[in-house]
Symmetry: C2
Subunit: 203 residues, 2 copies
Amino acid sequence: MEADLRRILLDTARRLLVQEGYSRLSMRKIASEAGYSATSLYLHFANKDDLIHTLVEEGMERLFQQLSAAPAEASGAPAQLAALCRAYLSFAVDNAEYYEIMFMQRSDELARFPTEKYRKARRNLELFRDTIADGQGSGAFQPGVPFVQATSIWSLLHGTVALHLAGRVDARIDRDALFASVVTLAVSGLRATRQLEPNAPLS
Amino acid sequence: MEADLRRILLDTARRLLVQEGYSRLSMRKIASEAGYSATSLYLHFANKDDLIHTLVEEGMERLFQQLSAAPAEASGAPAQLAALCRAYLSFAVDNAEYYEIMFMQRSDELARFPTEKYRKARRNLELFRDTIADGQGSGAFQPGVPFVQATSIWSLLHGTVALHLAGRVDARIDRDALFASVVTLAVSGLRATRQLEPNAPLS
DNA sequence: AAAGTAGATTAACGGTGTTAAGTTGTACGT
DNA sequence: ACGTACAACTTAACACCGTTAATCTACTTT
């Protein structure tokens, strides 16, 4: 009927997602909200996963734009990394429902979503990797495999967001204080340093 | 009929949880697996959340025992912190389904579980906090609020586990290599250091 | 023997994702 | 102009889900 029902359904789904959260989002509700029968969705999406993945892809794109813009004004890899971290955290709290489907959903069982769609997700990680590699080149960061270190930083940021969104962080801890501590941990964890105590076996 | 049906149901639930994963765990399945009707569960648990929370509490207890034993042989706060981190990561991969309900479940909507039950969860965090406070006392760690820093470290560990369990980590990254990188990040992120570049505005 | 009760069950409600079959309207070839 | 083909959409149905209300059963207490 309408110009592009697929587009309408996606927009409706996104609206409901933001309004009521992922746990209350159902195919039937999306359909009735859009004024169609539930089975209409299956003319445009293989299943619920497929629909969600499309939203995820859009979310990855948004995140990429927000991350790309972040380190522009900062100078030096450490400051740029800090800016990236803050941008990631900001995106997560500003788009909590998006974040939930993007990262907090176990890509269910076998139905892992097509590798082609991973590309947009990976681009975000590459922003971190490149900044880390820069910092290693300039001697600001300790040596290591940038891609692995980027994944570590991502883990830190994701964990922070995930615990926050799940309401698991102790209520006495101020959110912004925690975020600041996390960013500090990220940057100083990678910084090239001269240990005060050069002993202490780590591994 | 049996000695303690509540106990039987919990054991059945835990077995199914490990066998088939949380997403396939239903009240009806637990009941039929145990040889009872679905509604019997409601004689012993207020609802599904209540049952799950009981398992969560048991999981928290297990985690505490594993964490408590970890730093025993290590000497010095940094090495002890590293041991705690490794113990946490080990627990998570060895008890993936447990971990999922313990930390990866949004304590759903209003139904946050009673603060009394949070106590066991908090004890685990306090192990990290105390080790960090120790390290600050001995000058091995930089100053800061130990409870906040402990939460940061926890975020790092949780993020690592969550991404791993959700299958979100790039397949080219070896799990143990990532874990090692994460532990390094945790310890060196807290270490008292003398920066090679004492400039670089962070905030 | 009668009454009460704890433990378990069946039936049912409203919800979910999804598939199969049926309906409707419009465009097109003849 | 008519019949056909096809696309868009709907209704009916299946097999699940968590949960409540009402019922049954067997045993204990009086």
